[in-house]
Each structure stands twice: as structure tokens, then as C-alpha cells.
């Protein structure tokens, strides 16, 4: 009479552990595989196309010691931060201003949506033409790339504020700016923070790519300079550092997000 129970039975703890070990082992194996593939690629394809992983590691180490790497990282982060702040500022401020001008908003909305279709990176040569070859064109690029997601998130957030709360506040005698501050801001702060999770890494990426095109400092500049000199060690080193930088920033944001939103029952971002 003893038979197996249905799937609703508690999974045996040992089975779950085994699976976790298998997954971790698989991941380690995959990392080893990728590194091996890299090494083989380096041996086969020669020093020009594929830099040797060990040499890349040494190069990163050397550049760190000499301070070159930190200099470029600093430059990239500096420009990203400024651009990020500018983009955020307008991305938040503009929807609040537009909220008071519904007719204007309705009139310009299609053009704003149309401007989303323009690839911002394509504007960089124009920015260089207009603003020179210092920080300015990169700041414009980063500012725009940060502006759009933040603006859209805040704008949609404002639009979706519960009207009943707004009416309640009005009846209670709140002024428009008080309503903005109390009801609207609190309603959309979650959307805003979610958009930051996208915008901040994007700011850093955008800066790096902007540095491909203009400037004489930063990780992007480092990579592009190496490429033009057929210095594959430098190219690989730069890409490794740039990728690591963005991934670290991502990870930090995810952690912050978890802490800050720990109390929220819903609003969980899916890891997608």
C-alpha cells in the first residue's frame, strides 16, 4: 500500500543540496571552459587578434600599479557622474513642470516619443562639432541617455498617480506644489528608483563609448587608443576592466535595491 506521494510532498533536503552542488560545479566548469577557450584562441590566433589571458592579467596589474588604470577609471566615472546628475535632474524636473501644463504636454508628446527613436550615439559627431572635444559632447550624450528612461518613468508615474489621492489633497487645501511634493513624489519614487537601476550603468557605458569617439582620457579612450596601435593586450585589458566596472556597479545597485525595498511586498523586479 505504500506508494509515492504527489509532487506536493516536501522536496527532500538532500535532493535540493545535490542540485545546488551540480549547478555550482557546472558554473565553475563553464568558467574554466571559457578561460581555456580564450587561452587556445590566443595561442592559435596570434598576439594581434587575441591577447593571451595571462598577459592581459599582467597588463592590468601593471597599469594598476602605475596608476594609469585608476586615472582612466576616475575620468570615466567623473564624466558619468556629472552626466548622470544632469540627466536625472531634467528627467525628474521636466515631468513635474509638464504636469501643470497639460495642453502643452499633449501637444509635444508625439515629438518626444519620436525623439526616442533617434539613436543618441549617432548625435555624438554633431555634439563634437558644436561643443568641442572636451567633456561637453560626452556630457550631452550621457545626459540624454540618462534623461530618457528617467523622464519616461517619472512621467508615467505621475500620470498614474491615483487621482483620488490628489483630489483628497486638494479638498484638504493643499497647493499644487504641496501636492507635487507629498502625493505625487511619494507615488512615483519607486518607479524613479527603478529607472535609476537602468540609468546609472547606462551612464557609465555611454561614457565609455563616448570616449571611443572623443577625448583623451577614460576607459573608452584607453581601449580605442590601444586598438589603433594594434595593442591587443591593451584592448583586452581595457574591455575586461570596463566590463567588470559596469557589472560591479550593477551588482551594487541590486544590493541597494534589495535593502531599500525589503519591506515592499510587491514591486519586485524580476531578474530580467
Amino acid at each position: 500500500m505504500t506508494t509515492q506521494d504527489s509532487a506536493l510532498e516536501l522536496a527532500e533536503p538532500s535532493k535540493v543540496k545535490w542540485r545546488q552542488y551540480a549547478v555550482t560545479a557546472g558554473r565553475i566548469a563553464l568558467v574554466v571552459l571559457l578561460l581555456a577557450a580564450w587561452k587556445i584562441g590566443a595561442d592559435r590566433a596570434g598576439p594581434i587578434y587575441v591577447a593571451d589571458p595571462w598577459q592581459v592579467a599582467q597588463r592590468i596589474y601593471a597599469d594598476t600599479l602605475s596608476g594609469v588604470l585608476l586615472h582612466h577609471i576616475y575620468e570615466t566615472l567623473r564624466v558619468s557622474a556629472i552626466g548622470f546628475v544632469i540627466g536625472c535632474f531634467f528627467g525628474v524636473a521636466l515631468p513635474f513642470v509638464l504636469r501643470r501644463l497639460p495642453r502643452l504636454t499633449a501637444a509635444i508628446e508625439p515629438y518626444i516619443m519620436a525623439s526616442v527613436g533617434v539613436p543618441k550615439y549617432a548625435l555624438v559627431p554633431l555634439f563634437i562639432l558644436w561643443f568641442g572635444i572636451d567633456d561637453a559632447p560626452k556630457l550631452w550624450l550621457v545626459g540624454l541617455l540618462v534623461f530618457y528612461p528617467v523622464f519616461i518613468a517619472v512621467f508615467a508615474g505621475i500620470r498614474n498617480v491615483d487621482r483620488r489621492l490628489v483630489n483628497m489633497a486638494r479638498v484638504a487645501g493643499a497647493s499644487e506644489s504641496q501636492i507635487s511634493r507629498e502625493v505625487i513624489w511619494n507615488s512615483l519614487v519607486a518607479f524613479f528608483i527603478a529607472s535609476l537601476k537602468i540609468a546609472l550603468p547606462r551612464a557609465v557605458s555611454a561614457t565609455i563609448i563616448g570616449e571611443f569617439l572623443v577625448g583623451n582620457a577614460g576607459l573608452g579612450y584607453m581601449i580605442e587608443y590601444a586598438r589603433q596601435n594594434f595593442d591587443s593586450n591593451g584592448v583586452f585589458a581595457g574591455i575586461v576592466v570596463a566590463t567588470a566596472l559596469v557589472l560591479v556597479i550593477n551588482a551594487i545597485l541590486v544590493q541597494i535595491d534589495k535593502r531599500v525595498n525589503a519591506w515592499r511586498p510587491t514591486e519586485r523586479d524580476m531578474q530580467i
Binding site: 551540480a22 499633449a106 527613436g117 562639432l129 491615483d162 569617439l213 566590463t243 524580476m270
Partner: protein, 276 residues
């Protein structure tokens, strides 16, 4: 992306429907005229060195299309975007399907995919140019790898969205594994995959253009760069408008394909997935 967000219906706003739509259209037209006017005025005031005039752009655009120069470059950018898109999207869609019965494989891959998604793919542009030269191959590779990670996650969500009740129904009706994959898993995943396509589309064109700006001798990005270096702002604007038109065409194509293939979807069902 039809609009920035939908306001909740308010009794006051619903009143004069037709009139307010008409007024809205009028406003938008007015804004258009105003923008063009400002553009033209700035062009006259600052000179075409800084801002090419709208008329000049129209003429150059017409010229470029008729004589083929713009179309020539546009075809390169377009084919880079499309080929890269296809090369990136196909494995991205296949992988979740093939690994459907091996959740361990998906779990192992997960951190790598998340890392690949988060990493700046465009930063690989110089590497691909180093490898494949300044021709279209490097751009295709860049677009492909960008599109891959985006579409992978959407396809994964689609495959995971499987409704167990539908699978049971099909099994009782006599379906085997292949039937289930073909008739239940695949159609159910299509809306998610299309969301992924819609998100990846601008990245594919943008990626092609960026790579062209960095190093190329053909394409609209190259045209932008070349015109800028020659202080030819009319050329810059013309190329930019051409790129934007391509973006609209591609978006429209994806929309049309989606509407055709997804006629069965109840309205407002998974539309909101687009806010990934």
C-alpha cells in the same frame, strides 16, 4: 510605444471628446510649425556651419534618395542591423526551448547570461573592428551579440510562462512531448519573444550606427561622422533623419508582424511586459 502613459479616466476629460481631439491635433501641428520655424531661424542666424537649415536638409535628402547616395549608405546600415538581429535572435530564441527540459543547464547559464546582459556590449566595438575589419562584419557581430542577450531573457520568460493546465489538457487529448512543445510551449512563448524583439530593435540599429561612427567607410553612421568632420551640418542632419526613418520602419515592421501573429491575444494582456 504609443504614449508615455495612460491617465486614469476622469469624468471631466471624457466630455468633449471629439473637440478636444481636434484641438489636440491642432496644437501638435502648431508645435510642429513652431519647431520648424525655430530651426530655420536658428539656421539663418547662426549660419549653416552650426545648424543646417531644414530646407537644405529636405533638398539633400531628396537628392540623396533620388541619386541613391543616401539609399546606398542606408542599405549598409540596414543590412548590418537586420543581419545582426537575425544572427543574434535565432540562438537567443532556440536556447530556452532546447534547454526547456534541462532546468539545470539554464540555472548554470543564468549568471553568465545576466552578466552578458549587464555588460556593455558596445564596448566590444573596437575589438570586433580589430578582428573583422571596418567592413560590415564587425557591425553585424556587434549587433548580434547585443540582440542575443536581450532576446534570450524574453524568450526564457516566454518558455517559463507555460500554463501547466494547458499541457495537461493536451496530454489527456493524446499529445506527446513534441506536440506539447509545438502546440503549447511555442505559441505561448511568442508574445514574450516579440516583446524581446521590440526592445532589441533600437539597439540593433543604434549598435550598427555607433560601430560605423567609430570606424567605417560606409553606412549612415559613417555619413554622420564624415559630414561632421567636413563641418557639413546639412549632411549630418540628413543622415540622422535617415537613421530615424529606418528606426521607425523597423519598429513598424515588428508591430505589424506582431499584430498579425498575435491576433489571438486579448487586449492589454502582456503589453505591459514592454517596460522591462
Amino acid at each position: 510605444m504609443a504614449s508615455l502613459g495612460h491617465s486614469q479616466a476622469s469624468p471631466v476629460a471624457a466630455q468633449s471628446g471629439f473637440v478636444s481631439v481636434l484641438r489636440n491635433r491642432g496644437d501638435q501641428f502648431l508645435v510642429l510649425v513652431l519647431l520648424l520655424g525655430i530651426w530655420q531661424a536658428l539656421s539663418l542666424w547662426l549660419g549653416t556651419y552650426w545648424i543646417g537649415s531644414p530646407l537644405g536638409v529636405v533638398v539633400r535628402l531628396y537628392d540623396g534618395v533620388v541619386k541613391g547616395a543616401i539609399l546606398h549608405h542606408a542599405s549598409f546600415t540596414f543590412s548590418e542591423a537586420v543581419l545582426g538581429f537575425v544572427i543574434g535572435a535565432i540562438p537567443a530564441v532556440l536556447l530556452p526551448f532546447l534547454l526547456r527540459r534541462l532546468p539545470i543547464a539554464t540555472a548554470i547559464l543564468d549568471p553568465f547570461m545576466v552578466g552578458g546582459y549587464g555588460a556593455p556590449k558596445l564596448a566590444l566595438a573596437p575589438l570586433f573592428i580589430l578582428w573583422f575589419g571596418i567592413g560590415i562584419e564587425s557591425k553585424i557581430a556587434l549587433v548580434a551579440i547585443t540582440v542575443f542577450f536581450i532576446v534570450y531573457f524574453s524568450a526564457l520568460a516566454g518558455v517559463r510562462s507555460l500554463d501547466a493546465k494547458l499541457v495537461q489538457m493536451a496530454q489527456v487529448a493524446g499529445a506527446n512531448e513534441r506536440d506539447v512543445a509545438r502546440h503549447i510551449v511555442f505559441p505561448g512563448a511568442v508574445p514574450y519573444v516579440f516583446t524581446g524583439f521590440r526592445i532589441a530593435m533600437p539597439y540593433s540599429i543604434g549598435g550598427a550606427v555607433v560601430a560605423e561612427i567609430i570606424s567605417s567607410n560606409r553606412g549612415l553612421g559613417y555619413l554622420v561622422q564624415l559630414s561632421a568632420m567636413n563641418f557639413d551640418t546639412i549632411g549630418v542632419f540628413t543622415a540622422l533623419i535617415a537613421v530615424t526613418i529606418i528606426v521607425f520602419i523597423c519598429n513598424g515592421a515588428v508591430d505589424i508582424a506582431e499584430r498579425r501573429l498575435l491576433r489571438w491575444r486579448p487586449a492589454g494582456d502582456i503589453k505591459n511586459q514592454a517596460s522591462n
